[in-house]
């Protein structure tokens, strides 16, 4: 994607580039980039949305799970003291660690706090503290220098008619879509998935149906942590690995979730794609460094005209 970004920047800065691709081609290219970016946001946002749906917790520390995923894979892949594994096993281990970390935070922190009856707003502020803590622990170990993985860094783009895409990006899109379909399958077709949706839909009745609420919430956190780590590796691959990458992505995840309708996992997926596409397409007209700003602005516009989001149910409006 970086290669295309350079291209887009050049296009944005130079006035009419006569020999460059036409607007339609550039738009198609931006759309593909947008789908890729949206897929990465979606992978991470789904977990955040499921956590909100089942526990009503707005987890500000979700971005750090993304960063930790990317950084763990980096350590295993090219870290000075790391084993120097290939990226694929490194990513796999990072996902497992992300999932374990998600589960650990739920089990060791949120569950006891819920049991103590700590209010939602206090929990919300605790996630902010946790986010600061985790992010700067990563900073201490990882440093401020942006890094890349050893494999798949620079690739020749495949020429698919008007659009060019590297095999790496193509695979990332394909894998992301597969993972999202997998999550949808899990939610829609499995017993655990139905339990997760049931818990979001009517917690008391879920418990009365024999669902062990704590167990389902734990599963959601493990799933959310794993997905965040995977999204982190993808994000690190397409862009760059930094200590605050997840935090920067967090706002886009929130934007996707709200855009799609707070509390709906599918809404979060749809919203994330919208956000990714808006971000990338904006560079057709505006400077590249404003991509995220336009995506967030889309969120504010949606709040103005349709606060319940694209797929959301209408909320009480006082």
């Amino acid at each position: 994607m970086r290669v295309h970004l350079v291209l887009a920047t050049a296009l944005a800065q130079g006035d009419e580039v006569p020999q460059g691709p036409g607007f339609l081609d550039r738009a198609l290219q931006a759309l593909v980039d947008g789908i890729q970016f949206g897929a990465i946001i979606a992978i991470t946002a789904v977990g955040l949305s499921l956590i909100f749906g089942t526990t009503h917790l707005i987890n500000f520390a979700h971005g750090e799970l993304v960063t930790i995923g990317a950084v763990v894979a980096f350590f295993l892949n090219v870290g000075a003291a790391g084993p120097g594994w290939h990226l694929i096993p490194s990513a796999a281990v990072a996902i497992v660690i992300g999932a374990l970390l998600g589960g650990l935070i739920e089990r060791g922190m949120w569950r006891p706090l819920r049991k103590r009856g700590v209010g939602l707003i206090n929990l919300f502020i605790i996630t902010i503290g946790l986010s600061l803590l985790l992010r700067h622990i990563v900073l201490v170990f990882f440093g401020t220098r942006p890094q890349s993985y050893r494999e798949y860094d620079i690739q020749q783009a495949l020429d698919l008619g008007p659009i060019g895409i590297t095999p790496r990006d193509l695979i990332i899109i394909a894998l992301s879509v597969l993972v999202l379909l997998g999550v949808a399958f899990l939610l829609q077709r499995t017993r655990t998935g139905t339990a997760i949706r049931a818990l979001s839909s009517n917690p008391d009745l879920a418990e009365a149906s024999g669902i062990d609420v704590n167990r389902v919430v734990l599963i959601v956190w493990v799933l959310g942590g794993g997905l965040a780590a995977l999204g982190g590796v993808f994000y690190g691959l397409t862009e760059i690995i930094t200590w605050d990458m997840g935090f920067r992505l967090l706002l886009l995840m929130f934007a996707g979730i709200i855009l799609g309708g707070l509390g709906s996992a599918y809404g979060a997926m749809v919203g994330s794609f919208v956000i990714g596409i808006v971000a990338q397409m904006s560079s057709l007209w505006f400077p590249i460094d404003l991509q995220n700003a336009w995506a967030l602005l889309a969120l504010i516009v949606v709040l103005l005209i349709r606060p319940q989001g694209i797929l959301g149910q209408r909320e009480r409006v006082g």
Binding site: R191, T194, A195, R197, A198, S200, S201, N202, D204, L205, A206, E207, A208, S209, G210, I211, D212, V213
Partner: protein
């Protein structure tokens, strides 16, 4: 109730419970349900009927008192464990999963025995044909009466030994109320013991084997359904001066 030889299926003894610290909605009431029985709990609004069921089902903390199921103490056990033991519960409000389809709602009934789904779903859909017709619709699109059917269907999917029904006729049109009571009897006829809390005292007592009348969190009267149905004291308790003025 202590002199019974055989232990009853489900027993609540001298229950104290409430929602706000220091305020007991239930002040020492109790009841017992035998195998295969249909027992009604009636009483004026605010008597604590629904509260009693919630306390028995682990949704509300019992402060003092004891709940036993098949002779074993289950006081304050979480609801999901009671479900596993064979107690089904149909809440009065919010008794379906609105964002799930009808079939998924039923599936939640067999959450603990997923393999049983197909067999039981057939039986339940026979009892409630509307559920088969609407299988793939979201529960949120159903009418109040249909939701009540779905909710009972979901509880029956558990093949419970005991079914706790919290005001199944509340908020329903007369036609649906009749259907609901009809179904309750049918379910009971299959051998499921039912404890039903009802506002609609006449219809409830007509179909019940026995009834309890609650008043202000304590037991006021008890007797067979027909006895209570014709008991002037019950009518007076219900309507207070309203009845006296007649």
């Amino acid at each position: 109730m202590d002199e019974l030889d055989e232990p009853a299926l489900l027993v609540a003894e001298r229950i104290f419970a409430g929602y706000v610290r220091g305020v007991d909605v239930l002040a020492g009431c109790g009841l017992l349900l035998n195998e295969g029985e249909l027992v009604g709990v009636i009483g004026p609004n605010g008597a604590g009927k629904s509260t009693l069921v919630k306390a028995m089902f682990g949704l509300l903390r019992v402060r003092t008192g004891r709940v036993t199921f098949r002779g074993r103490d289950v006081t304050n056990e979480p609801a999901h464990k009671l479900v596993a033991k064979g107690i089904g519960y149909v809440p009065q409000r919010q008794n379906v999963f609105p964002t799930l389809t009808v079939e998924e709602n039923l599936r939640m009934g067999t959450y603990l025995q997923p393999k049983e789904f197909t067999r039981r779903a057939e039986a339940v859909q026979e009892l409630f044909p509307v559920l088969a017709q609407r299988r793939n619709q979201k529960a949120s699109s159903m009418s109040g009466g249909e939701r009540q059917m779905l909710s009972m269907g979901r509880a029956l999917m558990m093949e419970p030994d005991v079914l706790l029904l919290d005001e199944p006729s509340a908020g329903l049109s007369p036609r649906f109320q009749d259907q609901v009571f009809e179904r309750v009897r049918e379910i009971n006829a299959t051998g499921v013991a039912i404890l039903m809390v009802e506002q609609n005292a006449r219809r409830c007592l007509q179909i019940c084997d026995r009834g309890y009348v609650l008043d202000q969190g304590t037991n006021a009267y008890t007797g067979t359904g027909l006895e209570l149905l014709h008991d002037e004291k019950v009518i007076e308790l219900y309507l207070g001066t309203l009845a006296r003025a007649r």
